[in-house]
């Protein structure tokens, strides 16, 4: 205990963790503001927005799943060759030879399914609470693309085990692209790197799944979070249930219909 105290009071420790465990509100806000990983948060949040029933934490769950998927995915990459028939053999290895390989693969697979579910539910929650109101319109659009990329990630990952399930699921999907007028054949050719679902297709799906799509997703997630911050923070109590409150800052009631720029969830009142 004494040693721990000595270390945490020492110069090196304090150069890394500047704030320490806070005892005052000022220092509590410093914990957030001085930390790279936490600084996307504001120092204070509305009480109603951290209530479970306001958001069901679906966005946070999706992000947590993305983190888990990134970590488990990177571990899986250590044992995976994107080549035919090595890919399938690696799957068998992961299942029967590699220590805890099966657990890792299961985790990756179930998290992927869960992320599709939570991201979709998150979208529905945002819709039904009208949380896409101005100025958050474009953040909704980013969210739609995040959902699409989630689906694409899941789909490109589906081919990688190179088993019957993967092969035919992807074959059916890529033939759907073929149905697109004019550009369909070309897009399919580029996506598969050939005319058949073969070695080239596996490699391309691997690169998309492990590099391109996660990168795009990370960037968009960053923008998504940043805009939430800029547009007034997390969703507060949903509009329908809010009782009439006065605007403490201006000291008067704001009428959303008079001034469009003031429209936000809390100022839309049920009469």
């Amino acid at each position: 205990m004494k040693l721990i105290n000595k270390i945490t009071a020492g110069r090196i420790w304090r150069s890394i963790f500047r704030t320490g465990l806070p005892s005052t509100n000022y220092r509590r806000s410093l914990v957030i503001l001085n930390n790279f990983f936490l600084h996307l948060h504001p120092a204070k949040v509305k009480k109603s927005s951290i209530k479970f029933t306001t958001t069901f934490y679906l966005g946070g769950l999706s992000f947590a799943l993305f983190l888990i998927l990134t970590v488990t995915g990177i571990f899986l990459m250590f044992y995976y060759h994107p080549a035919v028939p090595l890919a399938y053999r690696d799957m068998k290895d992961l299942e029967f030879v590699v220590s805890n390989g099966k657990l890792l693969r299961n985790l990756h697979r179930w998290s992927a399914h869960a992320m599709v579910v939570t991201a979709s539910l998150h979208m529905l929650r945002v819709f039904f609470t009208r949380a896409f109101h101005p100025p958050r319109e474009f953040n909704w659009v980013i969210g739609v693309f995040l959902l699409l990329i989630t689906l694409l990630l899941s789909y490109t990952g589906y081919l990688l085990p190179w088993d019957q399930l993967a092969y035919w699921g992807v074959s059916v999907g890529t033939n759907m692209i073929k149905a697109m007028p004019v550009v369909g054949d070309k897009i399919r050719f580029l996506l598969l790197g050939g005319n058949i679902t073969g070695e080239n297709a596996l490699l391309r799906f691997y690169v998309l799944h492990c590099v391109i799509l996660p990168l795009v997703l990370s960037v968009l997630v960053g923008v998504h979070f940043w805009r939430i911050r800029k547009d007034g923070g997390l969703q507060a109590e949903s509009a329908g249930r809010l009782s009439e409150k006065t605007d403490l800052i201006l000291g008067e009631k704001t009428n959303p219909r008079k001034d469009e720029s003031l429209v936000h969830s809390n100022s839309i009142r049920s009469k």
Partner: protein
């Protein structure tokens, strides 16, 4: 000011313990600030603790799940033989079920594109942010318009024999219309009466998506024939 919500102001001598707001800047800032102040709490610990707990619970649940259920792995890919039936991942089975009714151009390209476009433009139609009930104003006129729109829209589905889609439309349509013919009451019917049009459209969309996916996962067997999962087993 509203008496129910007296303004609470924290006071303190030590500025480091209790921060006191000195001035409000009313001019434009780069941030679209919420004008209203709900009751606030410090992010640390309140929000951070919740985030950490959420992550831990999620991870525990996933690890338990991974111990109990194994991810599927079939035999090695064989381009010479399609399994019977060949099913896509579950989140695309709704789409695959659509492919059973419509040509690939419609089911694989036109409909998904329409869905994505519809989702993207939602916030730009500033429809009914206050979520006003559909049945406000001239009920008779609205009923006529609704019927005149819903019925022709479902003709293509009826023509192409997409039973799940037009049955869902029928269910939603009756749920929308039913409260009008019944006396005002309480409970679930009144909830239906209060529901906004945009919400109805979304509920229809969710219903169609869920029904198609469930059919694709559980009710389709070899050669995409209709099966009963409790008799023939689940082909997934």
């Amino acid at each position: 000011m509203n008496d129910d919500h007296p303004v609470k102001v924290e006071f303190g001598d030590d500025a480091q313990v209790t921060q006191t707001r000195v001035a409000y800047v009313k001019g434009d800032t780069s941030i679209a600030v919420e004008r209203e102040r709900d009751e606030e709490v410090m992010t640390f610990p309140h929000l951070i603790v919740r985030e950490v707990l959420l992550f831990e619970i999620l991870l525990i649940a996933l690890v338990l799940c991974s111990f109990l259920f194994d991810a599927p792995l079939e035999s090695i890919a064989n381009p010479e033989h399609s399994p019977n039936p060949a099913k896509a991942p579950w989140y695309f089975l709704g789409l695959q079920e659509l492919l059973h009714y419509f040509p690939p151009v419609v089911a694989g390209v036109v409909l998904p594109t329409l869905v994505v476009v519809a989702l993207v433009v939602i916030p730009y139609f500033r429809i009914n942010l206050a979520r006003e009930s559909f049945w406000t104003g001239d009920v008779r006129k609205k009923f006529t318009i609704l019927s005149a729109v819903v019925l022709p829209m479902n003709i293509p589905f009826v023509v192409s024999g997409a039973v799940p889609i037009y049955s869902c439309s029928a269910i939603i349509y009756s749920l929308m219309v039913l409260p009008v013919f019944l006396p005002r009451g309480r409970g679930i019917l009144e909830r239906f009466r209060q529901c906004a049009l945009a919400d109805w459209i979304m509920i229809w969309f969710i219903l169609v998506g869920t029904v198609l996916t469930v059919i694709g996962v559980f009710f389709r067997g070899p050669e995409w024939r209709w099966i009963w999962p409790w008799i023939d087993g689940i082909y997934y």
